[in-house]
């Protein structure tokens, strides 16, 4: 059995190197003094000058701030809509329009972004002509578009969480006298909370990261961070983008590391509890 495992193991190591190599090179060159980016200037490196330049780049800072605001609003609304849709699909059985909802909710996940972007823009234009709202494209239309594709992901996360736990928990609550609304807030919501939190984080990341759809529905003066980065890198490598990438990788890595440690801790506590319970078996 041993030698058979060797091939996949080597593939795993090489695959991980493939995934992380480019990111590492980006981090290394963010400390490079040279403007040429990929030519290491040993005499004056490492340096933090690109980080300093980043702090004074009004365009990037402004775009980042806009992206954060859009991502927070889009993720929050998407979580509400996605939780509703996930609950409907996992708990309402066969209702009218179920197939429609199920079909529409998973489609944005695989739909090529150019199509989603184009169709949303044309809809906003048509709506603007019809009822005079929204007035032109900008942060508002970007947010509406982001909510739409983000809610698809939240729905999937919430639905699979709901499918994973027993419906009899909700029935038990009702059997004990709790009305439907109370059942939702006391039982269902606390149980799917982890899914809602990870759904929110996922939605935030997707919104923060989206370029193609955003380009279609954005207007003058509403450039998000990915749009600014794209216009910079489209015509070559720029060193301050390396610095920006490094900051973002570090933020994500820290967040993931904290959540991993936390989950590990909880798992270990749970394992200990299970041992105790087994020991106390009557």
């Amino acid at each position: 059995m041993r030698e058979r495992r060797l091939v996949p193991r080597v593939a795993l190591v090489l695959g991980l190197a493939f995934l992380y190599g480019p990111i590492l090179s980006m981090i290394v060159f963010s400390f490079n003094n040279s403007r040429l980016v990929t030519v290491w200037d040993a005499a004056h490196s490492p340096t933090l000058k690109w980080y300093g330049a980043l702090l004074h780049n009004e365009q990037i800072l402004g775009a980042a701030w806009l992206s954060i605001r859009i991502a927070v609003i889009a993720a929050s609304v998407a979580v509400v809509l996605g939780t509703l849709a996930g609950t409907a699909l996992a708990r309402l059985g066969a209702f009218r329009g179920r197939l429609l909802l199920a079909g529409m909710v998973t489609a944005p996940i695989v739909m090529p972004e150019v199509i989603t972007g184009l169709s949303l823009l044309l809809m906003f234009v048509a709506l603007g002509q019809l009822i005079g709202w929204p007035k032109g494209v900008g942060a508002l239309t970007i947010t509406l578009a982001h909510i739409t594709f983000c809610m698809a992901y939240v729905t999937v996360v919430v639905q699979s969480r709901l499918a994973g736990f027993d419906e009899s928990l909700e029935e038990a609550a009702m059997d004990l006298g709790a009305r439907p609304a109370r059942v939702f807030f006391r039982i269902t919501l606390p149980l799917i909370l982890p899914a809602i939190v990870s759904g929110w984080l996922l939605a935030f990341t997707l919104s923060w990261d989206d370029l193609v759809i955003t380009q279609f529905v954005a207007g003058p003066g509403s450039s998000t961070l990915p749009m600014v980065i794209f216009s910079k890198v489209r015509f070559g490598v720029t060193p301050d983008v390396n610095a920006l990438a490094t900051i973002m990788v570090l933020l994500v890595a820290t967040g993931v590391a904290i959540s991993t440690v936390w989950m590990r801790y909880r798992e270990r506590r749970r394992a200990r509890d299970l041992q105790l319970a087994a020991a106390a078996n009557l």
Partner: protein, 377 residues
């Protein structure tokens, strides 16, 4: 058990209760009365409709037809959260994010009781199920047996008029199950709550139930005490479902006032059954004989020796083909001269094997006239 035996004292009454899922009829016009204070066991295989019946009583399924009355009150329009009925779920359905105390208090909180009163009642019920001191634990910190007690306490603390138990012991291992059965009965008697238990385990149904209802294809096949059901099944299904049984097809040859005689080619002898059944001479019937009610001997039994061989009654010859030693008893599979197999069990009263029969040994099987049950359907 205030008015046991009085048919008018129906505490829970189901009348023509029906549930259809599309074309499929899960529960088919069931009419059933449950008495106050009894443990009624609904016994049936999977898909027999027993769980659907239970869920209609709890209010989770709306009946397609018929009515449910509890203590004289019509339940049709009452949602589950307002019914005087509580359920212990098969999975226990303990809320994983709440402590034992919070789980039990959940139902009381809906009633708007004072906090001190809730705490007192939770403490009382925890003592009754012997879980005092576990109140602050979370469900995943409990063993299977402890979770079962908490689930029971959570349903009992509401003082329901009717307690429903869905496969209450299925998740426990065998040793624990036996112990818990008796404890469940003692708690039930102490609190006097009326219970309906759904189970597929006949042993569990026999021990727990004051009465049993055997379900098949959405209908109640028979209702009675455990011994009624075991000793006097009314259909082939019930006879076959409960315990093991030897069943032979035959034809009524004589329908007397005290006994019937049935000629069975499959069995190779005439069966004389002492119970009178309503059956027409010449019609096809089945006789069912329990394996433990059959004698096995090396010599032709004395009572039968007097009879002519071709008119032998309740005695038949065969050859031992298989022997299974079970510890407390042994099972013999005896092939009759007709080719059919007959199952006979004998208790192993003594140590050693002097009573034992050997494989391929030729034996006589006989039984008392009170043993066979004659079934017409």
């Amino acid at each position: 058990m205030t008015a046991a035996g009085d048919p008018d004292s129906a505490y829970v009454r189901m009348a023509n209760l029906t549930k259809k899922f599309g074309d499929f009829t899960a529960v088919d016009a069931v009419s059933l009365d449950i008495r106050r204070g009894e443990i009624f066991c609904l016994l049936g295989g999977s898909g027999s409709g027993k769980t659907t019946l239970l869920r209609m009583l709890a209010g989770f399924e709306r009946p397609s037809g018929g009515a449910i009355h509890i203590d004289g009150e019509d339940m049709s329009a009452i949602p589950p959260y307002e019914r005087p009925v509580n359920m212990m779920f098969q999975s226990y359905a303990l809320f994983p994010h709440m402590s034992v105390e919070r789980n039990i208090a959940f139902g009381l909180e809906q009633e708007g009781l004072q906090r001190a009163e809730i705490r007192r009642q939770v403490g009382d019920i925890l003592d009754i199920v012997k879980m005092g001191g576990f109140g602050s634990r979370k469900p995943h910190q409990l063993s299977g047996g402890q979770r079962q007690r908490v689930a029971l306490a959570r349903a009992l603390v509401k003082r329901p008029k009717l307690l429903l138990l869905d496969e209450p012991l299925a998740a426990l291992d065998r040793k624990l199950r036996e112990h818990t059965q008796f404890e469940l009965i003692s708690i039930q008697q102490r609190l006097g709550v009326t219970c309906i238990v759904v189970t597929h385990d006949q042993e569990e149904a026999m021990t727990l139930g004051t009465r049993l209802g055997v379900m098949n294809h959405g209908r109640i096949a028979q209702v009675g005490t455990p011994s009624d059901i075991y000793e006097s099944p009314v259909t082939r299904f019930v006879a076959d479902f409960i315990g093991s049984v030897n069943m032979f097809e035959g034809r009524v040859s004589e329908d007397g006032a005290e006994c019937v005689r049935i000629r069975s080619e499959e069995l190779g002898c005439t069966v004389r059954a002492e119970r009178s059944v309503h059956c027409v001479g010449g019609s096809t019937v089945w006789t069912a004989i329990r394996p433990e009610k059959i004698n096995i001997s090396r010599h032709r039994p004395l009572a039968a020796s007097a009879q002519r061989a071709d008119a032998a009654e309740n005695v038949v010859r065969g050859t031992v083909r298989e022997i299974a030693y079970m510890g407390d008893m042994s099972i013999y599979l005896v092939q009759l001269d007709s080719g059919r197999m007959m199952r006979v069990t004998l208790p192993n009263i003594t140590r050693g094997t002097e009573r034992g029969f050997a494989r391929e040994e030729s034996v006589w099987l006989s039984w008392h006239g009170s043993s066979p049950v004659v079934l017409t359907e």
